[in-house]
Symmetry: C4
Amino acid sequence: MEKNRLEAFSDGVIAIIITIMVLEMKVSEGINWDTFKMVIPKFISYIISFLFVAIYWVNHHHLLFTIKKVNPSIMWANMNLLFWLSLIPFATAWMGENHFEKITVAVYALLALFCGFSYNILQAAICKTYDEETAKRLMTKQSNRKSIMSIVLYSVSIPIALFIHPFISGFLFVAVSIMWLIPDKNIEKALSVDG
Amino acid sequence: MEKNRLEAFSDGVIAIIITIMVLEMKVSEGINWDTFKMVIPKFISYIISFLFVAIYWVNHHHLLFTIKKVNPSIMWANMNLLFWLSLIPFATAWMGENHFEKITVAVYALLALFCGFSYNILQAAICKTYDEETAKRLMTKQSNRKSIMSIVLYSVSIPIALFIHPFISGFLFVAVSIMWLIPDKNIEKALSVDG
Amino acid sequence: MEKNRLEAFSDGVIAIIITIMVLEMKVSEGINWDTFKMVIPKFISYIISFLFVAIYWVNHHHLLFTIKKVNPSIMWANMNLLFWLSLIPFATAWMGENHFEKITVAVYALLALFCGFSYNILQAAICKTYDEETAKRLMTKQSNRKSIMSIVLYSVSIPIALFIHPFISGFLFVAVSIMWLIPDKNIEKALSVDG
Amino acid sequence: MEKNRLEAFSDGVIAIIITIMVLEMKVSEGINWDTFKMVIPKFISYIISFLFVAIYWVNHHHLLFTIKKVNPSIMWANMNLLFWLSLIPFATAWMGENHFEKITVAVYALLALFCGFSYNILQAAICKTYDEETAKRLMTKQSNRKSIMSIVLYSVSIPIALFIHPFISGFLFVAVSIMWLIPDKNIEKALSVDG
């Protein structure tokens, strides 16, 4: 019951985050090639962020599927994750408007890192409500590897954006997303053994 | 359970898409005839898109009603559909602001085509979870005919917009919508025989 | 089940309508009395529309509480109501920005009338699914009187706004809202006798 | 059943309120230090308001958890709370855009006070549906103390913003939020004894 409302609120916030980003893709009047060219970087940054938020929703979905009871630490860890995700539309618009300028890409990568850490904090808060064995199974090698890979890739994409080229960081963002597109089934497996 | 959350998320996203379009219908201050005239094309493109998204919601509703379990391919096929639908407010605003200029109408038709293909992909992903006979009944003649008609009409409306007149394409959009307003009951019939 | 999703979608759309109106209450930078004075008419029109939409939500809530099954005509009558409600933020912003100019107030009253008619159409579509006696009890004297009163008051507020003074129409809007604030219990009573 | 829909609507509205605030954090094009500096006060006011609304959601969640039936006075007390909360994005944007100018901070504090009173009205409306003893347990010392503290702190922050320094009021806002971050378990305890 309580869990339902946490899910519903999170779904609402994530649905709004993923949809309002499109509002930033404004076009100035006029339809020559120059005005169209202005939309392209905004469109690319929209795709990157849509994928990013969609993956969080799917993983969030899997993660909350496992919990039975909501306690205050889960609730606030979830709020913390939603806070950082809610900044994605801002970072997306900023990056798109400035044509992937290096500082904007670095800020985006930093924000992605914060989202990743917040997700791990939520996972840890949920694991605490389980006995040690289930928790161990939940934190499987595969999902751990993905989490570590994401954090490493987002971390290196900050100096890459600043000192080498922001487009390489952009490709890294897409690479991380593709890695996550293969959903993590270990959480369910771990629990299906248990219950 | 899992299905509920997929529905809830899709409902949230579609509800936001259908509602934020109205935000584009801004009026400049002043209330003479000239400022009012500026709103008319925006209003017409809003009506077209409201109908378009509403029909998708209703059909989506019918389609998801038939599934029992969500698997990753259904989840991502659904995300893909939501992505293309989320671009509708952008295309609507662009078309309305530029008074149904031919290129904007062609882009709108192209986007409608992508939405149609994405819906078919979702349908195919759902059909895979059924045995062959139920799947065959699901893909009934009537709904197939409608899908093919939509794709044909949206396809021809692209060259019509570019080379003949964008208003004819606009009428084709409305024609497709009217065709879909008659809801497809075959999905339910097909399943009621089965279960 | 089906009904739940119709409710959820309607709730989503109405929640967005009621909330995005506040986005129109933008302030220009600077905080002298002149900039503040600009917000007052927008704030008043926001209050009027918040009340208006809130009353629709409550009545919609009561009305859908009574149905057991959703059919296509209920679904599309509901979509029609949501369409007209979705134009409220536009009419609110227009009225507020132009300081209750007579034409904007008349358009608002006209829109309120369309919302009222759409609600009646939805009510009629729902009544058709009941046997004659229950339907008769549903359309009680009290709620009928309120509906007729609303339509009369909104109708007269159009010429009043145009030819006498828009502020009188504004007071009529508030009067209609206060009339509806007393919730209609007859729908539930009618059904509690039945089931 | 009825209660579910009230929760769902409130969740929707609060989810939108908390998310649309980020839309105000627009950046002008250009990425020098000056444009970045403009975002900082908006970001701080966003954090303050995110926390504020999140705390309301959590407490609202706890409060509605206790009710069994929704009556008109609960419904309208809830609408009243949502109305004042819906003004938070406006007050946040105004405060952020004007760099915590004293009048904007005082208005924010006043709005926070109205939200607090509205919450108390909702609580009172819910308490009326219980017998005297349960109601007494619901209004526990701890939650009462927090409510009184909030009202006192928001009240004093109005003259402080106007006559001493708006930043002290800002710190008081954060202090109130931190006080509420420790969730109120008394409501559940009070009821678990009863039922």
